[in-house]
Symmetry: C2
Subunit: 313 residues, 2 copies
């Protein structure tokens, strides 16, 4: 590299705003879009940029047919370019992002992405490498039970992408080894692991929203919720100190699907007031895709919102 | 930007090979491809990467129709992304380069470019900004007389791109203000300005190859040719100390189209021997597109080759 470039990149480049970077990793149909939508609305679309790293596919759908791996495999993606673009975004710089068209299965004309105050990066492999992880202020892994996720994927791909249920189930099976090898290991590296699931021990009526179990790893500084729960560990929300699957200590926050809105609102207010923004609690949190509201989703999104606003300070 | 990223990008990233970067700037049909082809062959295609920065078009052909500027205008190109990609290449890193398809006029799927030992970047605006210029070890501007360049563009675009001569001439006229405003100013920033032209004072037979006038700016260290020319300033080759159009001192090397191959070979040998590579003078230099050989082109390419090999040491 010429010396003059070394000098310029160090000193002469204009200093720009550095965005707050949030990663939402998870397998196909794990709920990434639903989580992100409410966050973007709460932050304001003009202050938020979302990027899907599944656009970094190296091959189009036709080319993939002849390959011994699925779209989940790192070799099927430009991981090094993804890392590069994440570094650029984290430094406040624009990228020319590739575009994978899910409808046609083709790689299309790339698009300019200029980072705003908050950059939300979601996709299959945003936490796959150490360098990619280093680009984020907050990292999340979505970890629904596999049978729930499979049903979500069937609903979406049959409903909106023109596949038959049989095709979707066959594809899920084909992807399973790579999901286990590459997608699920990212759970261990996330600051927050989110699991939406029915509560197994109870017989809830069929329309009960899913409960949330949030693993809060001490890799980032979470709002102190011990006080709130010191005396009020209720049947519908509780905080428990546990060990994760690697034996490391974490806080597990459970929010049951049938938590009364009043009770949920108390916890939300505690978290929101810690931010001391002087504004009202955002009303966009907790919206499910079908128009219903979920208190566990609202609390999950609020926790992420808390971290985003804190990191921006 | 998270602190951990700052640390990683500074210390933990693997140190890679830094390529030598050459820019060849010039207007449409100025001869960039012809110059580059012989260089790549001499260096070995496996050691050379060429990149055309006209791929950084922001709009496709249809979108450009409604715009008040032509493809030559910086606003019509992702200049900041071009700068970013040049910096990445100069640091030995791969890029995902956009692709503009000249046949269809569309922006297509981007392609991975991994830099090799030598990276040759050609196009309309590679020297437009200070940061872009800082990425290069050697910069060249191709500066044929406008009437020669227009004829080359007519030959190419009518012959290979399906336009009529009238269309090409109209487009050249439409582009003239932006050529003057954005393309030609790059001449002042090039280390070497190359002008292939007929010698105006002589009546050469129509098949005489064009002569070359090379302005060698002291912004890089050229091979010392004063000795060669001290006594042998012949009718067909000479070196003259002059002032350029901005009054700055430069060496002007003239090589006439009808220089005898023997005489040209003496100069080439002097330049080549200075490199002390222990290998024979490459035979690929001086090839014109139509199969003929041009001694002025061979000497021009050899000078660039000299700088590339020197910069790689």
């Amino acid at each position: 590299m010429p010396d003059k470039l070394m000098r310029m990149t160090r000193a002469d480049l204009p200093r720009r705003h550095r965005p707050v970077m949030l990663a939402i990793a998870g397998d196909s149909a794990a709920g990434k879009t639903t989580i992100t939508a409410g966050l973007v609305e709460a932050l304001g679309p003009e202050r938020s940029t979302s990027v899907c790293v599944d656009d970094y596919h190296r091959f189009d759908r036709v080319e993939r047919k002849g390959l011994p791996f699925t779209a989940l495999h790192p070799s099927c993606n430009y991981i090094e370019i993804m890392e590069q673009h994440l570094q650029l975004l984290a430094s406040g710089k624009p990228i020319l992002k590739p575009v994978y068209d899910h409808d046609t299965g083709k790689l299309a004309r790339p698009e300019l992405v200029e980072p705003t105050e908050f950059v939300i990066v979601e996709g299959l492999l945003p936490l796959h490498t150490k360098l990619a992880r280093a680009c984020f202020d907050v990292t999340v892994y979505l970890n629904p039970p596999e049978e729930i996720r499979h049903q979500w994927k069937v609903n979406r791909d049959v409903g909106h992408r023109g596949y038959t249920e049989e095709q979707v189930r066959a594809e899920l099976e084909r992807r399973e080894p790579e999901s286990r090898q590459f997608i699920r290991p990212q759970r261990a590296d996330a600051d927050i692991v989110v699991r939406f699931a029915p509560v197994s021990e109870r017989d809830d009526p069929p329309d009960t929203p899913l409960s949330a179990e949030l693993l809060l790893r001490p890799t980032i500084r979470h709002p102190d919720l011990t006080e709130v729960f010191a005396e009020t560990n209720s049947r519908t929300m509780h905080l428990k100190l546990i060990r994760d699957e690697h034996g490391r200590p974490v806080d597990a926050l459970h929010v049951h699907g049938y938590v009364p809105p009043d009770e949920s609102r108390v916890l939300q207010k505690v978290i929101w007031d810690k931010l001391d923004t002087g504004t009202a609690l955002p009303s966009s949190l907790g919206q499910l895709g079908d128009g219903r509201r979920s208190e566990p989703l609202a609390i999950t999104q609020l926790l992420l919102l808390y971290h985003l606003i804190e990191a921006a300070r």
